[in-house]
């Protein structure tokens, strides 16, 4: 990786009672890199995402973005500095239309309607929302245009349903709305938590193509994914977690042959047998 990392995690630890869900994780993510996190269920991958995006606070360790300490900042602040994420089980706003869902993604970028004035800023926002001067209208119109462009990336999946409430969408389409919402933030760092969970092979291939496109456009991505095939194709590097710890990190093939990884996936005792046929792991 070239230059200073965009995201850097040092000794990140989170305990829930007796369980250490995330245990001293170190990770660097360079500008434009795509790193995947894999590991068995309960390895602490999503908890790690929560620590990076401010939904949960680490007990120890620090998170830096561009060298700036952002450990424990509130999620709304982190959205403001360009961190966007999707959620494992999908969290769209069910009663909002597709358009409104994605517009919420652009919320942190609103400027005209959210003047950065201390104390009375919120009141000005209320006033501007009611009066709607031309600058506010223009900003809103611009964002709507942008949302249509983002939705167009998903072909005919979302555009025809732009005014439908999200609860009426198929599961796969809800996942797409989540990704569209994340893109509307114009993120510097995008965290995708199992974007293809529950998708069929065609849909998975589409999603994989989209992620490859985003990567090619220079977006820095941290990806949690169980479909190893996709992980191997997309990732610059792979980090493997088990029981909260990082057990391996490196290029895809390297990690895939790592005996620790095989053991974590197949359990103790079986690892030797599996070692003879590492292809089975994938």
């Amino acid at each position: 990786m070239a230059g200073a990392p965009l995201l850097s995690l040092r000794g990140l630890t989170r305990r829930f009672g007796g369980l250490t869900a995330v245990d001293g994780i170190d990770l660097d993510l360079g500008q434009g890199e795509l790193v995947s996190i894999i590991g068995p269920n309960g390895a602490g991958k999503t908890t790690l995402f929560n620590l990076v995006t401010g939904l949960d606070r680490p007990d120890e360790g620090e998170v830096r973005l561009d060298g700036k300490d952002i450990t424990g900042l509130a999620p709304e602040k982190l959205a403001g500095i360009g961190i966007a994420r999707t959620f494992q089980l999908g969290r769209v706003f069910g009663n909002l239309s597709v358009m409104d869902n994605v517009l919420i993604g652009a919320h942190a970028r609103l400027r005209a309607v959210k003047p950065a004035v201390p104390l009375i800023g919120p009141l000005l926002e209320l006033g501007l929302a009611l009066l709607r001067p031309s600058s506010v209208k223009a900003e809103e119109e611009g964002l709507r245009e942008e949302v249509r462009r983002i939705l167009a990336r998903f072909g005919e999946r979302l555009l025809p349903r732009i005014d439908q409430p999200a609860y009426s969408l198929s599961y796969a389409n809800r996942r797409r709305v989540e990704i569209a919402r994340a893109l509307a933030l114009k993120p510097r760092l995008l965290l995708l938590d199992e974007p293809t969970a529950g998708m069929n092979p065609t849909e998975t291939a589409e999603m994989q193509a989209l992620i490859a496109e985003l990567k090619a456009a220079g977006l820095t991505i941290l990806l949690i994914e169980h479909k190893l095939d996709m992980v191997m194709r997309l990732s610059d590097r792979v980090m493997v977690m088990d029981e909260g710890k990082k057990i391996a990190e490196g290029a895809g093939e390297e990690v895939r042959r790592d005996p620790n990884v095989i053991e974590a996936y197949l359990g103790h005792g079986l690892s030797q047998a599996a070692h003879d046929e590492p292809e089975e792991v994938a």
Binding site: L78, R85, F87, R91, F93, G94, N95, L103, L126, L185
Partner: protein, 607 residues
């Protein structure tokens, strides 16, 4: 010194009583993540069944206790079976609204059966006092302590050593896993509601004996106190609820010792707000809990709102505007003026409860703030009435938002409890702050409505004025909802975790909603004050909060036109059918229950 011991004993005894209510709430919360707002009503039912047993049937004490426990348990089972079980797969707001509706129906039924006048409930125990150290203790104190401790022990044995008890604990830990392991969750719910109701009923009877008085106002107080104790101990935490109850009993008792009786409730609610702000998971919860799992389903019922063409709205508004020109009775105009005032309150509530998902149960407090501000400004500072009403609205926006802000970090049921408590606090402050509010005497001689120096004397002029203000507020609200704030509010309601992850500060946007909604409610209260010319601390009460909530559900949560349609329907129809006042709350409660069950999206649909 002796009095301190007395206050401590008193605090612990009262704490025991609260514990009986709070333990039930904790059990129910544990298995169904629901705060049962009807718990106080069961307590009330218990007290009145106790009265029937003691005074009319003259049963001996032990029989009385068994009778009350059994009857209350039956009520609990009925609530579970017919009120809540049908809502199991319903939206999250449904069971909350259902228990609120049930509590009002039960309270009203008791009131209609026994009349609202207080009754004496003799204790059946000899009236002697034993010297303990330097304080005294009576047989009733001992009975209450024994029942409290005894039930706690029985409950412990039940949860620890019986199969059903295990099932209850398993369900509390992980409902889905318990179901997969073959636990009959319905039976668990039944058991829990039965136990909770039996404890609550006995508690009501003991309190009645302790104060030798029962009345129908006990219900709301008991719910509030039980919930305070439960939240202090950590929701769903049974031993925590017991400790929280003792703490609450002591805080109140010492508070009364220092400041006097009229402050008793104030301490309870301040304790609640303090705990909610500082330790929202209760005093005994582990330091930090795992972040909540993604929520499935939506908070309000998804629906496609009924689209009313704009011309239809314009024509309807035009017809209502022209109504006073036709030969209609002043009575009809008066009724509609009431509907417009309630419409403004409903606009406010549909914004905060429907659009932002903060189900406020203390909304009448906002009316009171607006009314008192406007009345006092025009009386003491001779401010023109129009200006005073606007000041009332602004003051309500500011003060209301400030008061409710501790609840902004809370979710679902907690918001309702906090707002209920805040509503009580406002009413208690009005009652006790005599130098400004004239305390219980109230404010009289409030100048009548006037605009630019012209008094609005005729019913028609008041009608036009209130109608115009309501339409203006409604139009503003529609404009607000079509702005970026509309989608932001609704996003916070649907999923506050995802909303925060996309840069929406909950404090900021909930505040904005309460500022806007507070203004509308404050203006409504202000107009009402000048219309009534006399207000006191009871003018704006919980009944109005519940009426507003029913209106909002009837119209469709978040639906602006629905709020107004709901107001006309719920104010107008009882008038049209000449339903006596005492039956109205009962009807509102039943309407609320039927709506939640059969048409959760309301008449015009949620937005």
């Amino acid at each position: 010194m002796s009095s301190w011991l007395d206050y401590t004993i008193n605090g612990l005894i009262v704490g025991n009583v609260y514990a009986l209510v709070a333990v039930g709430l904790a059990l129910i919360f544990g298995v169904s993540r629901l705060i049962n707002f009807a718990q106080g009503s069961i307590y009330l039912v218990g007290a009145y069944i106790g009265w029937v047993a003691v005074v009319q049937l003259q049963t001996p004490l032990l029989v009385t206790i068994v009778l009350v426990a059994t009857a209350a348990a039956v009520v609990g089972l009925i609530i579970e079976r017919f009120g809540l079980r049908p809502l199991q797969n319903s939206v999250r707001i449904a069971p909350l609204l259902a228990t609120i509706g049930i509590s009002f129906v039960l309270d009203q039924l008791v009131m209609l059966t026994f009349s609202p006048n207080p009754r004496a409930l003799p204790s059946q125990l000899p009236d002697i006092r034993f010297q303990v150290g330097q304080g005294t203790i009576g047989p009733l104190d001992i009975l209450i302590a024994a029942v409290g401790t005894g039930s706690a022990l029985l409950l412990f044995v039940f949860l620890r050593y019986t199969k059903l008890g295990w099932a209850v604990r398993a369900t509390a830990q992980d409902r889905d896993a318990a179901m997969q392991m073959g636990v009959d969750v319905n039976r668990v719910n039944q058991a829990v509601f039965g136990i909770a109701a039996a404890l609550g009923g006995v508690s009501g009877m003991l309190v009645g004996m302790y104060y030798n008085q029962i009345d129908t106002a006990m219900s709301l107080q008991a719910t509030l106190k039980g919930v305070v104790a439960e939240v202090v101990g950590g929701a769903g935490n049974v031993p925590g609820a017991v400790v929280g109850s003792m703490l609450l009993g002591l805080v109140e008792s010492y508070g009364v010792a220092v400041f006097g009786t009229s402050y008793r409730n104030l301490f309870a609610f301040l304790l609640l707000i303090l705990v909610l702000v500082l330790r929202p998971n209760g005093l005994f919860a582990s330091a930090r809990q795992a972040p909540p799992e993604p929520l499935t389903g939506t908070f309000i019922a998804p629906s496609r709102p009924v689209r009313i063409p704009p011309w239809a709205l314009v024509i309807t508004a035009g017809l209502f505007a022209l109504l006073p020109l036709f030969p209609v009775s002043d009575y009809l105009l008066q009724t509609l003026i009431n509907a417009w005032l309630l419409g403004m309150l409903a606009l406010s509530l549909t914004l905060v409860a429907g659009t932002v998902g903060q189900v406020s149960l203390g909304h009448a407090a906002l009316l009171a703030i607006g009314a008192y501000t406007s009345a006092l400004l025009s009386l003491n500072f001779s401010l023109p009435v129009g200006l005073a009403i606007i000041c009332g609205g602004l003051m309500t926006a500011a003060l209301g938002t400030l008061l409710i802000s501790p609840s902004f970090r809370l979710r679902g049921h907690y918001v309702s409890i906090a707002t209920l408590a805040i509503g009580e606090i406002v009413s208690l402050v009005i009652l006790n702050w005599e130098s400004v509010t004239h305390g219980p005497i109230g404010v009289s001689g409030i100048p009548p409505l006037s605009l630019f120096g012209y008094e609005l004397v005729s019913a028609a002029s008041v009608y036009w004025f209130s109608f115009a203000v309501m339409v203006l507020l409604a139009l503003l609200q529609v404009r607000l909802l079509t702005s970026h704030l509309g989608r932001s509010f609704r996003a916070i309601r649907d999923d506050d975790v995802a909303a925060r992850a996309y840069g929406l500060s909950l404090n900021r946007y909930k505040s904005l909603a309460f500022i806007f909604g507070g203004f509308a409610a404050g203006v409504s209260g202000g107009i009402a004050a000048h219309l009534y010319s006399y207000i006191n601390h009871e003018t704006f009460n919980t009944q109005q909060s519940i009426l507003a909530l029913t209106i909002v559900i009837l119209g469709g949560l978040g639906n602006v036109a629905g709020a107004i349609v709901g107001a006309v329907a719920l104010v107008g129809l009882p008038e049209a059918f000449r339903i006596a006042a005492e039956y109205r709350i009962l009807i509102y409660g039943i309407v609320l229950l039927l709506l939640v069950r059969f048409r959760p999206q309301g008449l015009l649909g949620t937005i």
